[in-house]
Amino acid sequence: MSMIQQERIVYSLSGTKTFWRTDTRALVGAVILGVVSMLLQQVSIRLDQVIWPPLIILGGIAWATFTGLITLIFRQPAGIIMGETQAFIAIATGLSPVALFFVPANLLSSLAYSVVAQKLSMQKWSHHFIAQLATNIVGNICVAFGLYSILKLPVQVVIISSAVTAGAGIIGATILTKLAVNALRRSGLI
């Protein structure tokens, strides 16, 4: 068996900690899941906006879940590709006033997730929690800059709103990422 094949078996069978993955399946998966994530985020952010415009809760959870899920399954650069696909489409569709700040937010938070995922086995709830903690903090700091500079919101409001989004994202996405990865493993699709 060739090296490449052995590597692929390892990829698909366990969560072995590699940082990079450049096979076609990961690249194509990143793009397609980027589209999925973008479409679902459209749905959830619109719901957020109807509930209470200043707070992005469902959208934040959806964002963090997909960042985690794709980075965990397809590694890098898939995580970044997915994030940037999503950010660009978000700007073009007017998803959020601060969509421009999704560009750095998605890049850095996906990298943050990768770093944690490489260090930990990602088999335990606590590992998912730590990874989401890193992702949400990094991502929300970027978006907070946007809330401050574009929307000119007072600093206090920015901090509270970002903290709530991050908090919801950490808890919600920890649960959803782990459940989704388990469901996908059981389904035999990854």
């Binding site: 068996m1 389904s187 699709l189």
Partner: protein
Amino acid sequence: MEPFVEVFLKKVAFPGDEKPALSGIELRIEKGEFIVITGPAASGKSVLCHCLTGAVPHFYPAFQDGFVRIGDTVLSELSLPRIAGKVGYMMQDPQNQLFSTTVGEDVAFGPGNMGLPRREVRKRVREALEFVGLSGFENRLPETLSGGEAQRVVLAGVFSLKPEFLVLDQPAAELDPAGRKDIYDRLGELSRSGKSTIIMVSERPEELVQHANRYLVMEEGRIVRDSSSPPVQGPYPGIPAIFRKKQTVEPGQEAASLENCTYTYPDGRAGCLDTDLRLFRGQMVALMGLNGSGKTTVAKHFNGLLRPASGTVRVLGREISDIDLHILCRKVGFLFQNPDFQIFAGTVEEEAAFGLKIQRLPPEQITDRVEDVLKGAGLLQMRKVHPHRLSRGQRQMLALASVLAAEPEIVIADEPTAGLNYSQTCQIMDNLARLADEGKAVLLVTHDVMLTACYAHRLVAMHRHRVQLDLPVSQLPVYTTELQKIGLDFSPAFAGWSA
């Protein structure tokens, strides 16, 4: 002399599976052959295709004891992109095999990857599109193609690499009869011209008798029959329905009706015009017509997914304009063509119970009903399995089971057997027929004249968004010409009948 393709696979097994996916496969294929493979669900047909193209073990990791040799190449020794010029692979869903934003770019995808000179790439694009009869389609967007056209573009893309060996896994399963025939004729031409050796999985080998020279039947990962004549698949158990007693049975009460319904889609496309359609208890109505004639639009009115711009929809005696969709759904079950659009639960039984949980039925009742419907669907053994571990046909049975669990009075089935094999089709259709026998109203939207002839009591034919004919199936022979005029050719059904 050595055969062109040699397959010797003692065993192929996927990690984690108890049983091997393939065992004891020995196959020799001469140049220019056209081979058809059939077999029940999960018999290893697709896995064999994967092995013949190198997808196993390169893309789907598996333990493989044996080899596949094509010409002088052993597939396991080359990477997939290197195999590309030698073997062409076409799978079921064309939309997943088109990767570019225009048809021209897509056909150029393969030759471009090979690094051929630009002029040669252009020439190949032109030739390939001409071969599939789509010259002038270069600038079309893939999402605007019909199913048949999309599959022909995929064929052109594969053909542009000039592979000597073509592997096709149900390339026409989701097409209408005309689309299927078109693809088959082109493939037949390719094999007769000696340019390609073809091996194809098809659930309807009888449709390929003009072109194929050899038929394989697979069961449980083995080739159990290898012959120059197609395996005989029985006609549907209902045949000939034209003689069935039920035809003379008077229909029961009216269950649902559309009166003068007109619907236009938000983008301006016509849906249905002035449509009248009545469904009766104890009767299965087949709704037929060409693609885009308005069948699905009509069907979606019965459960309130679409509300007519003008006209009235009645379900069980009540006008539905004042009933909420989720209430209406308890009375009207809707089975879609693609079960994957609804399956989301972690086990088969949770999936079947989903609709009942929304209705907040008591847990004991849910358990009982789920057990009943899973037994009926033949899925009781697999109740704890993840739904995506089931085969496509089993997933459709699961979707049907979850529709039936709600105990609807009216069942709408939109192309429920597209892409399924013969025995799976029988299973779905027998279930629907039983519902009609039990006094429910069934509306079957279909392209399949055999299904209509064998199972339905009444045929409603649509043409250009209007109901053109509405007649008992027993009257079919009288109306052959009228039906042919609107693109419905029942002669295959009658051929079976007279034989």
